[in-house]
């Protein structure tokens, strides 16, 4: 029970560090830690397939992509200009208003039943695979087309145009 609160504290702590770290590389490393705590959350909810996918796709693929892009873009000079403190203050006020709105709506609900796993093999690969390939077969194929088009688009955008250079 208290494991959840400890991990929740860690995820909030690391996600605050993500947006406040000066160096973008540190920011990415804190994001890795945040995603690791999310993986632990998935394991606590016994969503094992999502835990593994989160671990591989987010921590393995997406964050390595971020790091490589950051290495391609040479940011050695630490030249990120800071926003004025008025803008930062306004941004924190705006985000805080958003949070207060959601919490107030949550107070009005008064649902506080515990999350209890009734079916222990709910998040296992076998169960999810059966649902994914029976009911959601068409969205699955469409998402493969989406990934293919994203790959083609990324290559097309990132290659240098020979006419302009």
């Amino acid at each position: 029970m208290s494991t959840f609160y400890f991990i929740a504290f860690l995820s909030i702590f690391f996600s605050i560090l993500v947006i406040t770290a000066k160096n973008p590389v540190h920011s990415i490393l804190y994001l890795v830690l945040t995603f690791f705590t999310f993986t632990i959350h998935y394991i606590l909810m016994n969503a094992q397939f999502l835990a593994v996918v989160n671990f591989i796709v987010y921590m393995g693929a997406i964050l390595v992509l971020f790091l490589y892009t950051l290495m391609l873009i040479n940011l050695n000079k630490e030249s990120e200009p800071r926003k004025s403190s008025l803008v930062k203050f306004a941004a924190v006020i705006g985000g805080g208003c958003f949070l207060v709105t959601i919490v107030a709506a949550l107070k009005a609900f008064k649902v506080s039943q515990p999350v209890i796993l009734n079916d222990p093999n709910l998040g296992l690969v076998k169960n999810l695979g059966k649902i994914l390939f029976n009911e959601y077969l068409l969205p699955f194929e469409v998402s493969s087309i989406l990934l293919l088009s994203a790959m083609v688009g990324a290559v097309l955008l990132a290659t240098k145009d020979p006419k302009t250079t």
Partner: protein, 109 residues
Amino acid sequence: METFTNNIQAIPLNHYILLCSIIFAIGVIGVLIRRNAIVIFMSVELMLNSVNLLLTAFSVYRGDATGQVFVFFIMALAAAEVAVGLAIIVMIYRNTNSIDINVLNRLKW
């Protein structure tokens, strides 16, 4: 394993909603206060992940595996989005030698 998860999971649903709202709000603030385009992208990823966690919590709460399938689709979408977005950032850097988003103020109008 079963007793382990049953011991762990006596957490009220409200606490999951609260945690995910806090992380989503942190992502929103991160988009607003930073000027580095890559850090803004990472804040967007943070928001996507908080929504994923909340969908999984609702899925476990309702005992319905459809939510977890949706989380899988959101992850595929996030991978596509990151690939295209980082390609755009690389192209912007090549043209302007900077990833400060204030350089791009001609996009405002």
